[in-house]
């Protein structure tokens, strides 16, 4: 038998390819296969059973009982013969079999006396492995056992097919998920890209509408304005949705005036109510004025729901009502409702109206317009605020949409600064940092219209140059610019120039954390683009007035002093008083010494002052002193004149704050 030709199936390459397709070789044991092996052992009453696969040079056991190895060389395996066949190979007594009598597996090794093996045949006809029953004594299977073996063989192949299909499905699923992601980001980018030129269209139309026009021209412009604003609404819907989908939409927690917000929604939509509709706003007497939450999103939700109500109500009433349901030490629980007497929603549509691109009536889209995204956005916005939207409706009787939101109570201190004084701001000098030429032009017209002066810098660096040359009252800062973006520029203005000039961020994308980031690096306010003239003006008023009230931007960290004073307030106060008494004088002496180019004195003074400045953890000022000291040591003042100015301003600022403590 040793010199016998090794049996190789005629379709060996294809057979091996078929085996590879299943990716089964060298995988870990699996229950499904082990169960099948056990079944073979039980049914045939044998101590040895296995499921194996045969590749180029080995027989690998996917599952085995009584063998104890994971693979054997192909040339010593019995099964290399079995896969040459199409049906069960049964050898009741190997001693009586010419071919196997002297096989090493028979005389020693596994001491095989009985062998029954059936090929594992793929659906396309390749024998990739075997399923076997083996015993140390002679045996003969009955027909039921033979039949069972071939059934199990089929099951094993099915199992393999299933595995492969599952892997394919998994891959397809991943591809599909990627495609959804790509779609979302495409939508977000596209709508962002569309908004920029649309911004210009709406803005210039606004300006055009303020010029002298004849009646026909006025009519045309009105139409352009309405169309532009509708288009913007749709784009905003899509952008919002893609932001929600990608988890990029944040719910703000800022103090806001609830009554004002509701009044705003009411005033905004009053014009859309048809004359036969009574449009009401009912506010609970117990309703709080100020709460902490997302005012913009509440606005969006109510405008959407109320807009729908007005759209679908030709006569009767539309009512927005707000009621306080509950109050804890920290929270108000408020119920918002928008109720109408309009066409209503059929019962079978109530469940689907919150789905995307769905409207109650197929024909609704035609008759009433809209993207079919509004309610879906509303639902998601409410869910993001840990609540749920509910709807009650009867066809031809009307609908009510309601939800309950918990708002944190606002501290009186946190309340927004009320009453933007309507006084004249005078001729403000404004610097705009913006790279887009159309946006520059638009902002320029708007600002000039307000009666302010405007200089334009096409990037952050130019902006800083202008700030160094001229006095400005305010900076309008685009966030995305070449060379130095809005963030970097602001950081420079605040930290290097140590300037408190009010900075308003202008951006088209309102993403998660963006607003926060703006405030964190020291901007004063935030206006989304495309900006509304009114909003921009109000924001300018707010920051200018805030500035007049002289809220210093700097925060002084007294923790080091706290550590040293071991919590003794008197001592701490004493040190602060000493600082206030000494530091301004020392700064003046330092400036004099610098003017007299007295390197030695500058070195000593700056070194000494640094210890005091460090105690109050004024890192930026400490840095100035280090530079001055260093330059004094080297006997060469270059940066020093700059730094002493920054230092003087900084100290004045700090003293002011410390005096107010």
């Amino acid at each position: 038998m040793n010199n016998k030709e090794k049996p190789v199936p005629h379709n060996e390459p294809e057979r091996l390819a078929a085996l590879k397709r299943y990716n089964i070789l060298d995988t870990l044991p699996e229950h499904a296969f082990d169960d099948a092996t056990k079944l073979v052992s039980y049914i045939c009453g044998v101590p040895i059973a296995h499921i194996s696969f045969i590749d180029e040079n080995r027989q690998w056991f996917k599952s085995e009982i009584g063998i104890g190895v994971s693979e054997v060389p192909r040339e010593i395996s019995f099964c290399q013969y079995t896969i040459m066949d199409t049906k069960l190979v049964e050898i009741p007594d190997t001693f009586l079999n010419e071919q196997f009598r002297n096989d090493p597996n028979v005389v020693d090794g596994f001491k095989i006396r009985f062998y029954a093996g059936i090929p594992l045949t793929t659906p396309d006809g390749y024998n990739i492995g075997t399923i076997c029953a083996i015993d140390h004594t002679t045996k003969e299977l009955n027909d039921n056992q033979r039949n069972a073996l071939s059934i199990i063989a089929k099951h094993v192949i099915n199992q393999l097919e299933l595995r492969t299909k599952n892997i394919e499905l998994d891959t397809q699923k991943k591809i599909a998920e990627l495609a959804v992601l790509a779609k979302d980001s495409f939508l977000a980018n596209m709508s962002h890209e569309i908004r920029t030129p649309l911004n210009a269209v709406i803005g210039f139309t606004d300006l055009l509408a303020q010029t002298k026009l004849d009646k026909l021209q006025r009519d045309y412009i009105d139409s352009v304005q309405i169309a532009g604003e509708n288009l913007l609404l749709i784009i905003n819907d899509i952008l919002d949705l893609s932001k929600i989908e990608s988890g990029n939409l944040a719910i703000e927690a800022q103090p806001f005036n609830l009554k004002k917000t509701l009044k705003h929604v009411y005033d905004l939509l009053k014009v859309k109510a048809s004359p036969a509709v009574e449009f009401n706003l009912f506010l609970d007497a117990d309703m709080p004025e100020m709460v902490i939450g997302d005012h913009g999103r509440l606005n969006q939700i109510l405008v959407n729901l109320t807009g729908n109500a007005l759209k679908f109500t030709e006569e009767g009433e539309v009512t927005i009502s707000v009621k306080k349901i509950d109050e804890t030490a920290d929270y108000y629980s408020l119920r918002f409702s928008v109720k109408d007497t309009g066409i209503g929603i059929p019962e079978d549509k109530l469940k689907t109206i919150f789905d995307r691109f769905t409207q109650a009536e197929e024909s609704t889209t035609r008759r009433f317009g809209g993207t079919g995204l509004g309610l879906n956005i509303v639902k998601q916005l409410i869910e993001m605020q840990n609540s749920q939207i509910h709807v009650k409706s009867k066809e031809n009787r009307g609908s009510e949409f309601f939800f309950q939101i918990n708002y944190k109570k606002a501290n009186p201190v946190e309340s927004e600064t009320e009453s933007i004084a309507d006084d004249d701001l005078g001729k403000l000098k404004i610097l705009l940092c913006e790279d887009n030429i159309i946006n520059q032009k638009l902002a320029k017209s708007v600002i000039l219209n307000f009666g302010f002066e405007l200089d334009i810098a096409e990037n952050g660096e130019k902006g800083i140059d202008l700030l160094l040359q001229n006095e400005y009252d305010l900076v309008l800062m685009d966030l995305q610019m070449p060379f130095k973006d809005g963030y970097q520029t602001t950081e420079y203005i605040r930290n290097e120039m140590n300037s408190n000039i009010p900075i308003i961020a202008m951006t088209a994308h309102s993403l998660v954390g963006e607003q926060e980031r703006c405030f964190k690096i020291g901007m004063d306010a935030y206006v989304p683009k495309p900006f509304k003239q009114q909003l921009l003006l109000e924001t300018i008023k707010t920051v200018i007035n805030k500035d007049n009230k002289a809220q210093p931007k700097r925060k002084i960290d007294l923790s080091y002093l706290d550590d040293l004073s071991c919590g003794n307030p008197n001592f701490k106060q004493e040190m602060i008083a000493l600082f206030i008494e000494k530091i301004p004088n020392e700064a003046i002496q330092l400036e004099e010494a610098i003017q007299n180019i007295d390197h030695d004195k500058v070195k000593k003074l700056s070194h000494n002052m640094k210890s005091s400045i460090d105690l109050f953890m004024l890192d930026d000022l400490s840095h100035c002193l280090s530079v001055i000291e260093q330059e004094a040591k080297s006997g060469q003042f270059t940066e020093t004149s700059n730094k002493i100015t920054v230092l003087q301003y900084g100290i004045a600022d700090v003293i002011k704050i410390l005096k107010e403590l």
Partner: protein, 121 residues
């Protein structure tokens, strides 16, 4: 335990003294190196805490004098805002036991002082 502190910045000197006194030490404070050295010569101290750059004579010179002329092994902690590595090396070279860069963390200062004093006791 009695500590002598020489530091010319008044706010820092007072703060450090207050801190150490709160922690139970007795502190004699000086803004001038010469005065500090005179005090060291006439009084018994458990530990010397000194800035390098002080008027009169420097913290380095005080250390050198204590080690070489007086021949005392009293623990000496030098602190300075000079971020130069050589300063630290020099401080140890002339016999300081500890070197702390400014701004001095009160907690770290306390730990080092205690460590030096415990070793001595």
């Amino acid at each position: 335990m009695k500590i002598i502190l020489s530091e010319d910045n008044e706010i820092l000197r007072k703060s450090l003294s207050f801190f150490l006194e709160s922690k139970g030490f007795t502190v004699d404070q000086f803004s001038d190196g010469k005065d500090a050295l005179d005090a060291i010569r006439t009084n018994e101290y458990d530990l010397i805490l000194t800035d390098i750059n002080i008027p009169g004579i420097s913290g380095m010179e005080i250390t050198q004098y204590v080690r070489q002329s007086i021949g005392s092994d009293i623990p000496i902690i030098i602190f300075t805002s000079s971020g130069i590595e050589q300063t630290e090396l020099d401080s140890f070279d002339i016999g300081a036991n500890e070197f702390i860069a400014k701004p001095v963390s009160p907690a770290v200062l306390l730990v080092r002082i205690n460590k030096l004093l415990n070793i001595r006791v």
